[in-house]
Amino acid sequence: MDIISYILLIGICVMLIIAGVLAAILMGKSEKLEAASTSLDQLKSTFENLDKEAKEIIKTDIKINQAQEELDRRLNGLESLQKTSRLISTTLDENEIFHRLQHSLANNLSYEKKLIFLYDDNHNLQSRLNVGIQTEDVYFILTDINKNPDLVKTFQEGHTFSSATAPVQKQEMIKHIFTVEYFVIAPILNQNGLIGIIFVGNQSNAETITRADEEVISILASQIGQSLGNARLFEEVFKSTQILESKVQDRTIKLEQALKEVQDISLKKSEFVSAVSHELRTPLTSIKGYAEILMTGKLGEVPESVKNRLEKINTHSDNLVKLINNLLDIARIESGKAEMLFTKNEMAKIIEDVHDVLTPLMKTKDIDWYTEIDARIPELLLDKGQIDRVFTNLVSNAIKFTPEHGNITIKAKYDNAKQIIETEVVDTGIGMSNDDMKKLFTEFYRIDNKINQSVKGTGLGLSLVKKIIEAHHGKIWVTSQLNMGTSFHFTLPLDPHNIKHEETA
């Protein structure tokens, strides 16, 4: 083997060794590469899985966000509904309802456009409220609606519909007329049926309208209908009441005028009676005086026949003076000129005095006298002279109309709560009819019966009695039954001044 061969052999060996080493290294690298590739695949797979999960999370999150948006919309809707309902349900004035609606719908409902149309008497829609639409555009909307009988009919059917539920053709029609992308239209109904419609809509396609909006607007429309129904009902009732009140007011004014006239006439009458009575009393006194002088015979002997005539002049003059005095008293009390002289008195004493004065008269008819006087009656403030006249008048009348052997009872009791004395003059006389009882206290009224026909009277006594009792702030009334007797009741306060104060208050 030459040297060259030897070198070649060594070279081959070295190369084989290098190749072996290289092969070994390459084998190791390949394993590492394989491992790295596996790791990369695993990483990619992890990323892909991560992405897959992320997509699921986002999808779920979108759903949650959409659900929340829907929930927010519902919450907003319900909140607005509650606010609006509260606002419009607390007024019964239709204009005020729309004023409040304008405020509330602008503030609380997030739709871009809001309209309320109401039907007029001719069943034509008229705009009543408008938010987010130019007034001139409302006119065009109404014109377009009226040009479209199908739409008019749809409205009159009274159903709620929206861009989420209406048929496509109808949707397009509404979108075109109102220039919106999304909308809800709901009927406004009250107890009499359809009275209008409410429209809400959004022009922007960013704000969709869903079934939730449809529900809210439908409820709102029903609330508006109810409030308008109530307002209209109230308006009707209010108008009727106003007419009635106006009539009552007219009548009251007329009655007041009439009463004033009567009072004026009465005052003039009293003044006239007072003046005339004064004028009559002076010459009458002279006549009576001269008649008495003549009767004494101081001016010469008076024949018996003349004396009789003079006595009649005297008696008639007395009657006339009595009549004039009574008239004067009534006139004074009515005109407030007669001042009552209130002093403290005992009721029992007054009754006793009356009994003393009238006992002779009662004896002529054999009439029995009874009294039932409450021992608790305190002293009371009254004008003794005037109350004497009351008792004298009432008891005289009782004697006059009570047949022989009858009886007269005086009752007096004390009402502590009311601080008044209730007095009754009861007889067993001929009584009177209901008609007579109503007119009994009228001046110059005399009951038409046999006794009155035979006994002369002025018809002023009970009228005067009534005036005196009223001047004491008391009341007088009569109860009676024909042939069964009569009771005169009257009340007197313990202190007329206090009563007067209370009445004024």
Binding site: F47, L50, A54, K55, Q68, N205, E207
Partner: protein, 397 residues
């Protein structure tokens, strides 16, 4: 010297009356002092053409700026309808305001941002400046560029807080207010400075990544063309189980603000949120701010608890930043995404806030579509970013 703050709010359906009442209530808070600046926040139910002249009657001597919003935040309530007026007096407060109209007409929006900053500076007669606040259109295509323009003038570390104007989730009509003008597609700015005051900003969002990380394989500015080499919108197609056309047209597409894209910042480990504002026909996604090609992107998810915690975190951060000074005014800017997430119970989000700050401190806030604020976990420089879905609490003490 302390601030006199007046805050007025009203939601009377009578627009003129609401404006008058809100203005009078705010003016009353100044106790006869001259207002230095007045800021108006208005939901779109109150047309500024009507309300602004009425508000002006109460603030004839004041500079006024403002914007539209989805809702107004008050210490104990949230109102998605109403008019809020904030007016501030301080004897040493200096304010400058500026505006850039028709931003969409600028080919390079960063220039509009720079111009806004320069205009505001021209109106600012002092050297000492503490905060720049701006209101931009919410639907502008790339707010990041506007911010870039602002930073080119103010520098990267100067505190800039901003908010995209918004409406009632219709993404249609937003407006800005500058003095007596009502502007559309415009940005208005307010620069304020006052010796001795402290301004502290806390921000957070509370959204967390979900699913595997993906890579933005093609993007230019605020348009993401492809993610993992597939049309960007396919990401939402997969997650929402919806076809692209449905996503574009269906209201579910509006749900994307609840699931924004999160761009991972390798520096801070924090996620910058981007709300998709449109899905284009080729399947690309238009975002409110820039998205860098090659970014790691995630679908983000938030829930009420995580957002409540974030709110509390931001409040704490704002308080801590005052370094012991008592806050005299709290301004809250909150993404409308959070209002959508919380819905009816939006006020619950602020429970933590009320635990941290005394309810006597004058507080007003509003909802926005896009926020300029420092990042959450703080790069130390507190550089301002465009965020979505965030809450920004600005405390002045």
């Amino acid at each position: 010297m302390s601030f006199q703050i007046g805050i007025g709010f009203n939601k009377d359906p009578n627009i003129e009356l609401a404006a008058r009442k809100a203005a009078i209530e705010a003016r009353r808070g100044l106790i006869g002092k001259r207002p230095s600046i007045t800021i108006v926040f208005s939901t779109i139910h109150y047309p500024p053409e009507i309300t602004l002249p009425i508000i002006r009657q109460s603030f004839t001597e004041s500079k006024i700026i403002g914007c539209s919003t989805a809702g107004i935040i008050l210490p104990h309530s949230i109102s998605t309808r109403g008019l809020g007026v904030l007016t501030i007096h301080h004897p040493e407060l200096t304010v400058g305001i500026g505006q850039i109209a028709s931003i969409d007409s600028y080919q390079d929006i960063s220039k509009a941002g720079a111009l806004l900053a320069q205009q505001t500076l021209q109106d600012f007669p002092s050297q000492s400046r503490d905060l720049f606040l701006c209101f931009t259109p919410g639907v502008i295509e790339n707010l990041s560029l506007l911010l870039m323009g602002l930073r080119s003038v103010f520098g990267n570390v100067f505190p800039v807080v901003g908010a995209g104007s918004c409406d009632d989730f219709h993404f249609r009509k937003t407006f800005q207010i500058f003095q007596d003008e009502v502007l559309l597609n415009s940005a208005v700015g307010l620069l304020l400075g006052c010796p001795g005051i402290s301004v502290s900003i806390g921000s957070a969002h509370g959204w967390r990544p979900i699913g595997k990380p993906r890579i933005v394989t093609k993007s230019i500015g605020n348009v993401i063309y492809t993610i993992d080499k597939k049309p960007a919108a396919s990401l939402y197609e997969e997650f929402f189980a919806q076809k692209m056309d449905d996503l574009r047209n269906d209201p579910i597409g509006k749900m994307t603000i609840l699931y924004p894209l999160g761009l991972l910042s390798y520096e801070t480990g924090e996620y910058l949120l981007r709300n998709p504002i449109d899905i284009l026909y080729d399947g690309s996604i238009l975002c409110q701010g820039d998205v860098a090609q090659g970014s790691e992107v995630h679908i983000m998810i938030g829930n009420k608890e995580s957002c409540k915690s974030a709110f509390e975190f931001a409040a704490n951060e704002a308080l801590t930043g005052l370094r012991g000074k008592q806050p005299q005014l709290l301004l809250v800017i909150e993404s409308m995404s959070r209002l959508k997430l919380f819905g009816h119970s939006a006020h619950q989000e602020h429970e933590g806030f009320n635990k941290i700050f005394n309810s006597e401190i004058p507080t007003i806030g509003f909802y926005s579509n896009g926020e300029f604020c420092p990042s959450e976990n703080g790069d130390a420089s507190k550089r301002t970013h465009l965020q979505n879905g965030s809450v920004v609490i600005c405390a002045i003490g």
